[in-house]
């Protein structure tokens, strides 16, 4: 992006007044956190001088600890896909709590159209439907899953935009409904044994590939398209958006539909990765997705935030989780520490906003 230097009225564009992009702060925080874990690994007595990032085993093909990096980004990728949608919802001034259970419901539904007929020569013990639903082309479960997600999102959006139910309440209701659907679909039994084609969606590093592709796509959409501009405008001043001729209702429905479709896709990827679907999947995913966006500098009042921020927020959360495991911090402490870090991130951001407007 080029900046115009031809200010009007004889005044020039003042480069020194350009604001320091928030994303750079998060990136610096990310590096700082990695350094802290690296130092802790060297300093803590029980770690015996291990390294967080670098491979200290006698391997010469790579200097980085590839296994750890893989774990970090794999952990991040699937929730990150949800966070891309949640980011758009929050920028538009809303919130989406239904994404976690939607992951589970979509996983159950998609998986039941992705099963193989024979497992080791025997009929599939977890079959949900009859033979007609066995060994379908991989496109079928994907389309069914995404369509289900889009439908849930459209319902969310309709209740919020047309019937004016607060987003928190509407998506809280959908949170319970989706968890119910996930349990009802097979009366609580897991769905397993997918086709090879379906497994491929979540195999190896595929979740990361999906996450990065979608992140680039939605970065472009939010930054350079009318959809993106209107999303920011609605979150910034809904009345102004309406007065300017934006169809706010239709736009909000579209935002929630896209967000839920992304969450549904995360459900497909998760079930493909685990090669099974269970009604309890995706617990707390909606909250972690929101946390990623929040660490990424989004404003819950709407109008502010970016996909780059959310991707960095996702990396921060991934590094923290992985780092805590690395220094062998107990799971209970991990949750407490992560909660504290999320609150600290918002505090820092608020302080930065305040000092930013004064300057």
């Amino acid at each position: 992006m080029t900046d115009t230097s031809e200010g009007t009225g004889g005044l020039k564009f003042d480069k020194s007044k350009r604001r320091w992009p928030n994303e750079i702060n998060i990136f610096l925080a990310l590096i700082l956190i990695i350094v802290i874990f690296e130092v802790l690994g060297q300093a803590l007595p029980y770690m015996r001088g291990q390294s967080f990032l670098f491979d200290t085993n006698d391997r010469f093909d790579t200097i980085f600890n590839e296994a750890r990096l893989k774990i970090i980004i794999l952990q991040v990728a699937i929730i990150g896909i949800i966070a891309l949608g949640v980011t758009q919802v929050i920028i538009s001034g809303g919130i989406d709590l239904s994404s976690g259970p939607l992951v589970a419901a979509t996983a159950m539904i998609a998986m039941s159209f992705a099963q193989t007929e024979l497992v080791n020569g025997n009929p599939n013990p977890k079959a949900v439907f009859g033979l007609w639903a066995m060994d379908l082309p991989v496109i079928v479960p994907v389309i069914v899953g995404l369509a289900f997600g889009a439908m849930i999102g459209a319902i969310n959006g309709t209740f919020i935009a047309v019937f004016r139910i607060p987003p928190f309440i509407a998506t809280l209701g959908m949170f319970l409904i989706c968890r119910g659907i996930a349990l009802w679909w097979t009366a609580g039994r897991p769905v397993s044994f997918p086709t090879e084609g379906f497994k491929f969606i979540g195999s190896d590093m595929m979740p990361v590939v999906w996450f990065l592709l979608l992140a680039v796509l939605f970065h472009i959409i939010l930054r350079y398209t009318v959809y993106g501009k209107h999303t920011y405008a609605i979150g910034s001043n809904e009345d102004a958006a309406r007065m300017s001729g934006i169809n706010v209702r239709r736009h909000k429905i579209l935002v929630y539909t896209i967000a839920s479709t992304l969450a549904a896709f995360a459900g497909i990827v998760l079930s493909a990765k685990s090669a099974t679907a269970q009604a309890g999947m995706g617990e707390f995913y909606e909250l972690f997705a929101i946390a990623m966006a929040v660490i990424g500098g989004i404003s819950l009042q709407g109008g502010r935030g970016s996909i780059i921020g959310t991707v960095l927020g996702a990396m921060v959360l991934g590094v923290i989780r992985s780092g805590f495991t690395y220094i062998k911090l107990d799971g209970s402490y991990q949750l407490m520490a992560m909660g504290g870090i999320i609150i600290a991130a918002v505090l820092l951001d608020q302080w930065r906003q305040k000092s930013g407007t004064k300057a």
Binding site: M1, D3, T4, E6, G7, T8, G9, L11, F13, D14, K17, I221, Y224, T225, V226, Y227, K229, H230, Y232, A233, G235, S236, N237, D239, A240, A241, M243, S244, G245, I246, H251, L254, G303, R304, T357
Partner: protein
């Protein structure tokens, strides 16, 4: 009807329940004319503006705009017909910059076949923004600044520039300088003069007597929901004191005898 009239209202009336906020307003605005609407608080000035701009639906009466009888369902209809309004609440998106706000809802785009995902033509919008600001004489140091980082005067200028940039047939400003300092007020008044030179019609709602006498051709005074005076201040010897006595009710225009 002669076609140099841009806006005419006949018997324009608005009741809010039992409150008669506006009663039988007959109003005429010629092309290129600048008219001020004055009156005490609650006299019906803003109500009048809200009926013409389609923000509210009138109880009865007709509005003729540019030779055609119109019935705007909302402010959008009015804007599409060519009425640009600057409201007291500025209707700007705080997190967006100047070109974004100017073009909000009517963006310049490319690849239109992409529907809602069509691409914004930032370059063209910036260029037209600068042209528009130059045309209206609005001075904003940095158009890439977001509205939240601007002073009240700058915000007002953006809102007015938005109304003035789009070759509207009629611009309506509801107390554009009410919250501004001296310098900022002067800038807004300069914009209004530029509009006059360019022959654009304007309705200015204002409490500021000096401003009104400096800027407009004619003053229409509202009192208790009715028009009570129509004063040709450019051609007749009318003082501020006269206007005040119309506003307060000490005097009533001859043709409006019998009104409130």
């Amino acid at each position: 009807m002669s076609n140099d009239i841009i806006l005419e209202t006949r018997d324009l009336t608005k009741y809010y329940g039992g409150v008669h906020a506006l009663e039988g307003a007959d109003f005429v605005l010629r092309k290129g004319e600048h008219v001020a609407i004055m009156g005490d608080n609650g006299a019906g000035k803003s109500t009048f503006v809200r009926q013409i701009t389609g923000v509210e639906q009138r109880t009865r009466g007709t509005v003729v705009f540019d030779g055609e009888e119109v019935d705007f369902a909302g402010p959008l209809d009015a804007r599409e017909a060519g009425i640009e309004a600057v409201f007291q609440t500025l209707a700007l998106a705080d997190h967006l910059d100047v070109p974004d706000n100017l073009f909000l809802g009517r963006e310049k785009t490319r690849f239109d076949w992409l529907g809602p995902f069509r691409f914004l033509d930032y370059k063209q919008m910036r260029k037209e923004t600068i042209d528009g600001l130059n045309k209206t004489g609005v001075k904003i140091p940095n158009i890439r600044n977001t509205i939240q980082n601007m002073s009240g005067g700058q915000r007002q200028c953006v809102a007015i520039a938005r109304a003035a940039t789009f070759h509207s047939k009629l611009t309506i400003m509801d107390e554009p300088t009410a919250a501004l300092g001296v310098q900022e007020t002067a800038q807004v008044e300069n914009i209004i003069r530029t509009l006059k030179e360019q022959g654009e019609s304007l309705i200015l709602v204002s409490h500021n007597m000096r401003q009104v006498f400096d800027l407009v051709d004619r003053v229409v005074v509202f009192r208790r929901g009715r028009i009570c005076a129509n004063l040709d201040i450019k051609n007749e010897t009318i003082t501020g004191e006269d206007v005040v006595s119309y506003i307060t009710g000490a005097k009533t225009g001859a043709e409006f005898e019998g009104a409130a």
